[in-house]
Structure formats: C-alpha cells, structure tokens
Amino acid sequence: MKILVAIKRVIDPDARIRLNADSSGVEEESVEYKVNPFCENAIEEALVLQGAHGGEVVLVTVGPEDVTQTIRSGLAMGADRAIRIEGVDTELDSDLVARILHKVVERESPNVILLGKQAVDGDNNQVGQLLAQYMGASQACFASEVVLEGEQAKVTREVDGGLETISIPLPAVITADLRLNEPRYASLPGIMKAKRKPIDVLTLDELGVTDTALKIEVLSLELPPERQAGSMVESVDDLLDKLKNEARVL
C-alpha cells in the first residue's frame, strides 16, 4: 500500500491577515506558517491506514525552499519520505497544482491519494477533484471516515444534508474534512528522525510540466467592508423591543 499525501503550507489560520503595502498580496513579513489544518487530517489518516495495512506514506508539496520546514513537521508525524516540487504560490493556481500532482502520481503510482478538502488561505476546495479528474479516478471529498476493503475504499462524506457513504475503487483521491480524525502531535524522537528522512526536490521541467499558464489570475486584493458593531442591550425586554421596533425583524 502506497499512500501519497499532498500538503500545503499556509499562514497560521488564527493570525490576523493583513494586506501588503500595495495590496498585491497578503503581508508575509513576520507571519507564522503552519501545515494547512485539513492537510494534517490527511497525513493522520495516511498514518492510520499505514498502521492497518502497512506500506509507505509519501508527502508531496509544491512550494519554495522554505516550505522544507513544513515538510519536516509532516515527516515528524511519521511519514516516510517527501517530495518537494519547486514552485511559488503566486505562480500557481488550483489547476496547475493538480496537473503537477498528476505527474507525481504517475511517477509514484500510489494506491490512495489524500489531500485536504481545502487550503484555508485560498479557500478554493478544488485540487483533489481536479486531480481525480486528470487521473480518471474516483474521488471521495470531505471525508469523515475511510475504510479500505480490498480494492475498494468505503468513505463517509460530510455533505449538506448529512452523511453520505460511497464506495470507490482504488487508486482513488480522498479529501479530508476536519472530523476525519484528530491529528497526532509529533514526538521528540519523531522530530529527530524527520531530520534524516529523504526529501526529493524536483523542478517542473524535471516532472515534465511544460504548460504553466494560470487559468485563474488574482488581480487585486482588498479588505471586505468592516461590519459595524451595534449596541449592547440591557435585558431580554430591551432586545425584543429593538428587534421589533428598530430592526423590524420580528
């Protein structure tokens, strides 16, 4: 069993996001980076599946050299090795990331490909589905439970009306929702071992990705209008009075 996990580095989701001076991007000076929370769920699930079925867990990320630290934290959780594809966020869109990952899938031939359901910076929620389409493979997105049964995966998905279960043939793409599992913390020995685990670095050329044109270009960023805080009310009576006579919503 080989499991490939695509991970992305994002700005700490609990930090305040600021625009840079010319509003061309978000301020990256002195921000903290983390593994995208959904990608941590994906790594955790890969490790659980490896525990049950054996095999290898390979991490892959598309990013510049300084994402190596993020990769190490994934390796410290227990993944075996990693691949980094040279790339810069501003020169990527979901489609290009998916086409790059498709090349990696062709090289590695994994049985299961795990991704986060969305990267909490771009909030696109697209890469897993695009990758599955390019592979001609099945997908199970927004997974909250994964059970491997021979050559099939039975996956429960968090959908709008409740929980849906589907069965899909491997190799398949599965994207992790937050309730899939509780990601483990890296242990100290895990962190030490991660330092020696191999990280292969490849360029787009080496992978054979020649078309790097973006399908979606981000032209400008702005802060959304701030919502004005309203007033505090003293009592339930006061609240009902305001809702009826001021806001006229009751």
């Binding site: 700005i11 909490v120 589905q129 709008d160 309730r179």
Partner: protein
C-alpha cells in the same frame, strides 16, 4: 456572449432555492455579456423539476434521467454535464458552492480545461468580466480573472437572492446520456429529517455553541427557540466537534455560509472561522455571558447573559 449552463439542485421533485440563486447570478452575468441561459436537471424526477423551472427565463432546460443517475456520484455526473455542455454550446457552467457544487464543478473544470472561480460573491470589471471571491476565511476579498475560453463558476448562494419568475416557458428537452460510474457506487445516506427550514434557506437562523455544554442542553435550548422563531438551527464547529449536534449544522469557513435576515449566536465566542459563515447576515444578535466575546464586535445587538436563562425568557416573550 455567454451561453450559460446552470446545474440545478433539486430534492423530492422540486428545485432547491440554491438553483434560483444560481439563476439570479446567471442573469447578472448574461446582463453583462449578452447571451442565453440554459438549465441542466440531472437525476430522479428531472422532468417534474424542469416543469417547475420553466418560468424562469431559461432558453432550454435539459433533463437527463436514467440508470446510474438516481444518486449523485462525481464521475457519471461529470460525464453528463460535459455532454450537456456540448449539447447546449455552453461556455459558462454555474452552480452554487454547496457540497454538491464543490464536489462536481472542479471535475467539470478539469474535463473542459476551463478555469474555475470558486465561491464567487459578485461580478466586477468594466469591459472585461472579473469575479470577486473571498479568501482567508473571508478576511480578504480577491478580484480574479479567468483566462480560459470558458469558465466554471461556483456561486456563494448567500450573496444572491432567489431569482423571480419572469413568465414565458422554456423548452424542455430530454437528453439521453449514458453514465459511467467507473466502479464507484452509492452505499447509504444518514440525514436528519426535520420540519424546520433548510439552514441555507432560512430567514431566521439560531445557532448554538460550545457554551451550551452538551447535546441535551444544546437542543433543550435551541429547539424551542427555533420553534418560537420559525428558524433553522445552526452551530459552531466546537458544538459539532463535541458531538452536540450533526455536522450539517456547522456554520463557518468550513461549514455552511448563511446570510439570513436574523441570526442569533447563542454561547458562540465568534472565532473568525465562524464569522466567515454568518457575518453577512442582515441582523446579528449575540447572547453570551462573556462581555469580551469577539462575537459582540460584529453583532447588531449584544446581550451579556446566561443563555440558559435568557433564551427561555426570550421564547416566553416573543
């Protein structure tokens, strides 16, 4: 010129409100670019859904029913949509960004080679059509361009009112398309039957958080409140993660985005990820015992109180 294909969402033989919101968006786009709107109704009872949509100004409503399409599965539905793109000559495909659209549309983008704009909240640009979309849990609003000859757009439903009927009658055309599930199959569905309005469609939403302690208390407070106000029930992620209530009640960056006329946040602190799903509500009321809770910074009316006392009092007086 745009030829827009709107993928209808439907349930129990009737279109969902989100379909009308997608049509609203499609009208705005067609208003900018000229062109026509077509609808795709796929799956069980497609013909009766189509009949109910015939007065919304679409030129053609394509229906596709048959084996393998009773339940949504990504691959057969992608195949059908690409078939309908060919049949209609569409160069824009639209659906709302619920879990259905989020699952399906990127595959359609992959199949067509077109770029996909996720979670579009508005059109922008002058001579050229550009799109606005939130990023970073709604903390940033981006203006993006799609560079491909066609575009796939998922629409944030809460930003668009349901389209009104325009009269007239669309041509309804049944299309035979075979669906290949490629070995995938539907196993089961576990949903919550509820007489309450749909969370995404409700005019009033009452949402509860971790402060409600446990599942029993959550519903003991929220059920009568929802009954009294005719509201849908929502929740914070913490309430869902703690097992108080089902996952499909989660409001926020990674749950549902709602913008009702009236939103009650009960014992919810107001983390940015929660605000991402409700801050465009028209009127926000927060009930929280902590006067410093960040939710008060976005609420129109804030009441510092114990929810276990304030909510029953409120219900009694409404």
């Amino acid at each position: 010129m745009s030829t827009i294909l709107v993928i209808a969402e439907h349930q129990d033989g009737a279109p969902k409100k989100s379909t009308l919101q997608s049509i609203h968006f499609a009208r705005q786009l067609a208003g900018r670019t000229g062109g026509s709107i077509h609808l795709a109704v796929i799956g069980s009872a497609a013909a009766s859904v189509a009949a109910k949509l015939a007065g919304y100004g679409a030129q053609t409503i394509y229906t596709v029913e048959g084996a393998g399409l009773e339940k949504y599965l990504a691959q057969p539905y992608t195949g059908v949509v690409t078939g309908l793109i060919e049949a209609s000559g569409a160069n824009v495909v639209v659906a709302t960004s619920g879990t259905f659209g989020k699952d399906l549309l990127p595959r359609v983008a992959g199949a067509t080679g077109w770029g996909m704009v996720a979670d579009c909240t508005a059109l922008a640009g002058d001579s050229e059509v550009l799109y606005k979309r939130p990023m970073y849990a709604g903390n940033i609003l981006a203006t993006v361009r799609c560079t491909t000859p066609g575009a796939v757009i998922s629409v944030r439903a809460s930003e668009f009112d349901a389209a009104e009927e325009t009269g007239g009658a669309s041509a309804i055309q049944a299309v035979e398309l075979t669906a290949d599930a490629a070995g995938s199959s539907f196993v089961g569905f576990e949903g919550v039957e509820s007489e309450r309005p749909d969370l995404g469609e409700a005019e009033v939403v009452v949402a509860g958080g971790r402060g409600l302690k446990d599942g029993e208390n959550f519903f003991a407070v929220m059920n009568p409140m929802a009954d009294a106000l005719g509201a849908a029930i929502g929740a914070s992620r913490a309430a869902v993660d703690s097992g108080f209530c089902p996952n499909d009640m989660q409001v926020g960056q990674t749950g549902k985005v709602v913008a009702p006329g009236l939103y009650f946040a009960v014992a919810i602190s107001g983390a940015i990820q929660h605000l991402a799903g409700m801050k465009n509500s028209k009127c926000i009321v927060a009930i929280n015992k902590d006067p410093e809770a960040p939710i008060f910074q976005v609420s129109d009316y804030g009441l510092v109180a114990d929810a276990f006392k304030a909510v029953p009092e409120l219900i009694g007086k409404v």
